[in-house]
């Protein structure tokens, strides 16, 4: 009985302040939509960045003049360096083949032009933790093996990718925060108007001894209804978008389905939860400020 009473009162309030309620609903919808689009995108970019990071390696070039035993000694010392996951030998021919594969024109013609293979043999060192590569390189440099010519790592590329994804993340987080703030403010405003429209009811309720929560519940439910429908609409739009755009694409291009992203049902749950939480917070703020019961 109390719940149906609360629900009826909440709907009555929504009917009376339908314009602000609609504005609040649209803001919640927008917030959920932005979150729904950006959570998978951020996850995909982060996933890509991590993949690149996991491929981070250092190349230890070997002097052409190094003897076999010096090379073995170098390999042994690299393998013994702490934090190194694996060491792979790349011979001069292999190095040239790989280079030609990547850039056929320069290396094919260049090799022909030079008449000899300009590329040195190398050991490719893969670290266990990409972040530790720097210290590994430093250790290798210090070891000063006679066969070692030069150590290079490809960290710079990774750094660029990571900073780009970082920017995307920060922008999204900023946008989401702004929209969440706007949603809370608009819901708070809706509830405030509703509170104003029903001040007589509130007065009477206080007068006849309704408990504080009895007075508050209809307003909280009102806010939650707005949040629920905002979230629901956003989820419906996302489902439609997914089915019309993403699904056909991912059938054709394996690439799009590639990176690991959040499961769609889980995403829906997260969005609904966020919408309802945002609206409950909005209602709560107003009630705290304007309904001193």
């Amino acid at each position: 009985m109390p719940f149906t009473f609360f629900l009826r009162e909440a709907l009555r309030g929504l009917k009376r302040s339908s314009a602000p309620a609609l504005a609040a609903l649209l803001t919640v919808l927008l917030t959920a939509l932005v979150l729904g689009v950006f959570i998978p995108i951020v996850q995909a970019t982060t996933g890509t960045a991590n993949e690149v990071r996991s491929r981070v390696v250092a190349d230890v070039y070997i002097k052409d003049a190094a003897t076999k035993s010096q090379q073995d000694e170098l390999k042994q010392s690299l393998e013994d360096t702490s934090g190194v996951k694996s060491v792979e030998y790349i011979s001069k021919t292999e190095a040239l083949e790989r280079a030609q594969e990547k850039n056929p024109k320069a290396f094919k013609e260049g090799a022909e032009l030079l008449g000899a293979n300009p590329l040195p043999a190398s050991f490719r060192v893969t670290p266990e933790d990409p972040d530790k590569l720097d210290s590994i390189v430093a250790t290798i440099n210090q070891s000063a093996q006679p066969a070692m010519d030069e150590v290079r790592n490809r960290e710079e590329d990774t750094d660029k990718i990571l900073s780009a994804t970082g920017l995307v993340k920060a922008l999204t987080a900023g946008l989401a925060a702004l929209l969440v703030f706007a949603s809370i403010a608009l819901i708070a405003n809706t509830i405030r108007l509703s509170l104003f429209a029903r001040r007589r009811e509130v007065e009477v309720m206080k007068l006849v001894g309704a408990t504080n929560w009895f007075i508050r519940w209809p307003f909280v439910i009102e806010g939650v209804i707005v949040g629920f429908f905002g979230g629901l609409l956003a989820v419906l739009l996302l489902i439609i978008a997914k089915q019309t755009f993403i699904d056909p694409l991912s059938d054709r291009f394996a690439l799009l389905a590639g990176p690991d992203t959040i499961d769609f049902p889980l995403l829906i749950v997260v969005l609904m939860f966020a919408s309802i939480a945002v609206s409950a917070i909005g209602s709560g703020i107003t009630l705290r400020r304007f309904l001193r019961v």
Partner: protein, 273 residues
């Protein structure tokens, strides 16, 4: 410390509430100064016994409404103690206030009815919001509306009723739970003398059924006709407390106060019942 005290006072207070000798309302040197420095009540001391019918009279701004609002715990006294049925209001936790209010019916000059609800729904609403069952509501509401003489107007909206009828609805709402105490703030302030008599009759009938009634009014005719206990306030002070009094005493208030102080000892022991 405070909670320990209220816990200890709990059963005792209940026993005292059942004791007919414990006053329903007791003001002990209560003062109320509002934010702007205006004085609402200044050292008021009085007792109202079970089943009494008391008029609070005096000009506007003398503290009548302050008394009512203090009793509803809508505002807190600046000084002094206020008891309802032997229970001190100042020490009452905020969460208990709604339950305390359920034992007090209030009637206002402007009725405070909900314009978009019918007579029946207005009364039912006050039961719904304290969590009464639907069955109880269906039993109680027609009963009380019959008592106030509105059983034919159940489905009318307040704006379709006369002022007197609207006040009857508000009395029905205040009394539907049969509270032991009924407060009325200018209940006849907006009504013509004839209608006022009807309203007073109704309030008197409620009083005769055992409910303690406090009526704040400046309707001198009514007070003179009713001949009940009169407490006169002036600038927040109680200047007269008289059994079966008139709105204005024959003697000047100063003379009266002097006499009264002599007779009643400034109301410290209440008045002989």
């Amino acid at each position: 410390m405070a909670s320990v005290r209220t816990e200890q006072a709990g059963p005792r207070a209940r026993r005292r509430a059942q004791d007919p000798n414990v006053p329903v309302v007791e003001f002990r040197d209560v003062s109320k100064v509002y934010g702007g420095g205006s004085v609402g009540l200044d050292g008021a001391t009085m007792q109202i016994q079970r089943g009494e019918f008391v008029f609070l009279v005096g000009p506007t701004g003398c503290g009548k409404s302050t008394c009512i609002r203090l009793l509803m715990k809508e505002i807190e006294p600046s000084k002094g103690e206020l008891f309802i049925a032997g229970r001190e209001l100042g020490g009452m936790p905020r969460s208990r206030v709604p339950y305390m209010r359920r034992n007090i019916g209030v009637v206002f000059q402007d009725y405070k009815l909900l314009p978009n609800r019918t007579v029946y729904d207005n009364v039912a609403y006050s039961l719904q919001v304290i969590g009464e069952s639907r069955q109880e509501i269906r039993r109680k509401v027609p009963d009380i509306l019959r008592l106030v003489g509105l059983s034919t107007k159940l489905h009318n909206y307040p704006d379709e009723l006369s002022g007197g009828e609207q006040q009857r609805v508000s009395i029905a709402r205040a009394f539907v739970n049969h509270p032991p105490l009924l407060l009325a703030d200018e209940p006849t302030g907006n009504l013509d003398p004839e209608t006022s008599i009807g309203i007073m009759q109704l309030i008197y009938r409620i009083n005769r059924a055992g409910t303690t009634v406090v009526v704040a009014t400046h309707d001198s005719q009514m007070v003179d006709k009713m001949r009940r206990r009169v407490v006169e306030l002036r600038e927040g002070r109680i200047v007269r407390d008289q059994l079966s009094g008139l709105y204005r005493p024959d003697e000047s208030t100063t003379e009266f106060a002097v006499r009264l102080r002599g007779e009643l000892g400034v109301g410290d022991e209440g008045h002989p019942n």
